[in-house]
Amino acid sequence: MADMNVDQIDREILPFLSCSARGDVKTIALQYFLGLSGSKDGCDFVASYNKYLSALVSLTKDGDQSVTKDAYLSLVNLSTYEQTAMKILDLHQEVPLDLLKYVLDKESKHTGIVCMLLSNLSRSEQCSRRIFDSILANVDVIGFDKLVDAFCVNQTATLNYLGPFFSNLTQIRDARHYLLDKKNRIMQRLLPFIQYEASLIRRGGIIGAIRNCCFESSYHDWLLSDDVDILPRLLLPLAGPEEFDEEDTTKLPVDLQYLEADKKREADPDVRKMLLESINQLCSSKSGRKYIRDKNAYVILRELHSGEKDPAVLLTAENLISVLISDEPAPGMEDLTKVEIPEEIEEKLRKAHEAQQREVEEETEKLEAEKLEAEKLEAQKLEVQKLEAQKQQNLT
């Protein structure tokens, strides 16, 4: 079936990819496309013809729930590829609106899949821009407050993929400003998800969005103020059960004082890295650095660093720690986001950074190789044990 040519498909399958087609054939036609979308080649093939994409999108409005489900699933697969994602959004203007309306509708049956689709579609900056514009144009129907409301109220797994969706959207500056709106208190409502243990998708997505928002240095003072109090939220997942002496303890934010003996650190290295990057961003201004130093973040980071295995997280932690423990830069250069760097130095820094990245990659590869080796050994051991057990059995 896979080697069918375009003419054949156009003749034999495409006519049935429409809401008005007969149910049984429609299902078969759709199954074919869903199958195609399972492989990269298949995706490329489908994506090169707008008529197919368009047909799939139209089927998401079919009356038969099993048909809409398969249509959405095919689109999820197709949208994994950035080019295709843009093509889908380009089909017609209502695509983001329809999808977001679907997510907000409590009667919808496949909300989880559609959230996944949105998360895929918004991956590139260009696509995010498109979706964000659509949100802005329809604030009354699919405004950010409504999306966040739904996300906070419905904490079942279905809306988890809105987390990465928010993270993707915050690539766009205007979207960041929306999340940082002081009146709507959206940021305050998202912060608790930093500790959302039930889903890494939701937690990681929101932390990604928060990390992106931390790039807005004009909001730093507000983020660190009592109104948001973001620092303890970012630090808590990085803290372990270590005890500090009275002096160190009292300097810490209250949420980090006297943590339980079974306190666990964030398990996912990417999430740990994003948390560190967020704090690093907050260190870009003098007042931010002072606040974070005064709150004794250093001791938490020191303990994290001493037990950290992941090379990328280690490097991020080291960078942050060095900012915290080094002397303040010369007057006029306190705001790190505004420091002008001469070209040659920039080039040097870039090279240094690349070298570091390479090191991290090598380190990671080495670790992975070691892990593989260990697994292999383990497997061999098991094999030997099995053989011996068999021998024993044979003997007895």
């Binding site: 208190r185 949420d255 004082q257 339980e260 003996a261």
Partner: protein
């Protein structure tokens, strides 16, 4: 309805007349014993003015601390005699609000309670009665019942902002910060950006986190205490010390598996208790008894690594001032003998002056009572010592 015949009607009229007659006669009889009402002419102008002021038609103020005149009472009763429960409840609410403004919170509470008891069907009115009573109760510090009223108010009208705000305030004063946060969040969902609620939320959040910290701290402390205690008990066990729980009626050595810290609790007012130092040595509170003089010495911390001789030489140096009770100047280290007593067998065992406390406590007949090892000090070969020792089987 069946119509009355003329005959019946006449009979009823006669009966009613008779009733009225009887009632009037009764009233006259009632008043007969009382003095006749003084006429206006007999009163002084002050009395007259006073009486007029008490009359509902002329009164400007009402003093509720004094008994009410019958006329005023009558007027008041009339006010709440309306057939409509709603009108009555409304009247009570108005009275409550007046009293509330005058800061007469207890009266206001009574008014609102009376209004609630009218059980009128007006949902909003009931909401306000409960919500206002909550406010009044809050003002006199009855936070718990105020909170209950807030809950009731919200049962009548979900999302009543005044009740929600008051509820949040009550929770904060009661130290139930998480609940307070829930009230705030509920209110903020209805009215996003409400300044008062935002402030309350911030306060509740701060206090809540502090409380959590305090709880964690207390728990840590408790855990550490327990770990220390366990280590102490384990060391006591390892060092072969036999504790006797004096709270037990039968004076047997405590079975080691139920060893508890109660058995190292001393009865000394200083509260001194065996401690474990960082090198793993125990420090015991020790009691020295001098039966010849009826005197005792209480040593708060005596390291188990110390030798008795060292202690004796410090307490009773060969040269130097004798203890005040040592009238004969006999108590000098070389003259002293130390014993411990096995109370169960009523026997004394001599202690080698050069041994450490640790070795003595290991002795199989040496028991520690009340967490305090006790030793008897006698003067070698003194008549008292001979007598005392013979009494204890030596």
């Amino acid at each position: 309805m069946a119509t009355m015949t003329d005959e019946e009607r006449e009979k009823l009229a006669v009966e009613l007349d008779a009733d009225l007659q009887a009632f009037v006669a009764e009233k006259i009889a009632e008043n007969e014993g009382k003095p006749p009402r003084s006429s206006v002419m007999d009163q002084t102008p002050e009395e007259l003015a006073d009486e007029l002021n008490q009359h509902p038609a002329f009164m400007k103020d009402i003093d509720l601390s004094k008994p009410l005149t019958p006329a005023v009472e009558g007027m008041m009763a009339m006010k709440y005699e309306s057939d409509s429960a709603r009108d009555n409840a409304e009247s009570f609410k108005d009275d409550g609000n007046v009293n509330f403004k005058l800061k007469k919170y207890k009266w206001a509470i009574d008014n609102y309670t009376a209004g609630i008891k009218c059980c009128c069907g007006d949902v909003m009115l009931n909401t306000i009665l409960y919500s206002n009573r909550a406010a009044a109760r809050y003002h006199i510090g009855n936070y718990r019942s105020a909170l209950n009223d807030c809950v009731s108010a919200c049962k009548f009208t979900e999302g009543h902002m005044k009740a929600i705000t008051k509820g949040a305030q009550c929770c904060i004063v009661l130290g139930e910060f998480q609940k307070g946060l829930n009230w705030c969040d509920a209110g903020l969902r209805i009215k996003p950006g409400d300044e008062v609620l935002l402030k309350l939320r911030e306060k509740a959040d701060k206090l809540h986190r502090q409380k959590e910290r305090d709880e964690r701290k207390a728990m840590k402390k408790e855990q550490k205490q327990k770990a220390d205690d366990d280590k102490l008990l384990a060391t006591i066990q390892q060092h072969g010390v036999k504790l006797v729980d004096t709270t037990d009626t039968d004076d047997t050595a405590v079975a080691l598996d139920k060893l508890s810290l109660d058995s190292v609790e001393t009865h000394h007012p200083s509260g001194a208790r065996v401690t474990l130092d960082s090198s793993g040595a125990l420090h015991w509170p020790i009691l020295f008894l001098y039966p010849e003089h009826g005197e005792t010495d209480f040593i708060m911390q005596f390291s188990e690594k110390s030798k008795f001789v060292d202690h004796m030489e410090m307490m009773f140096p060969v040269a130097g001032e004798p203890q005040t009770w040592d009238t004969d100047n006999k108590y000098r280290a070389p003259n002293c003998q130390i014993f411990f007593e096995d109370q169960e067998k009523d026997r004394l065992y001599p202690v080698d002056m050069n041994s450490t406390l640790e070795t003595v406590l290991k002795h199989k007949r040496c028991f520690v009572r009340a967490g305090t090892p006790a030793f008897i000090v006698l003067i070698k070969d003194s008549p008292f010592a001979k007598h005392y020792l013979s009494k204890h089987g030596l």
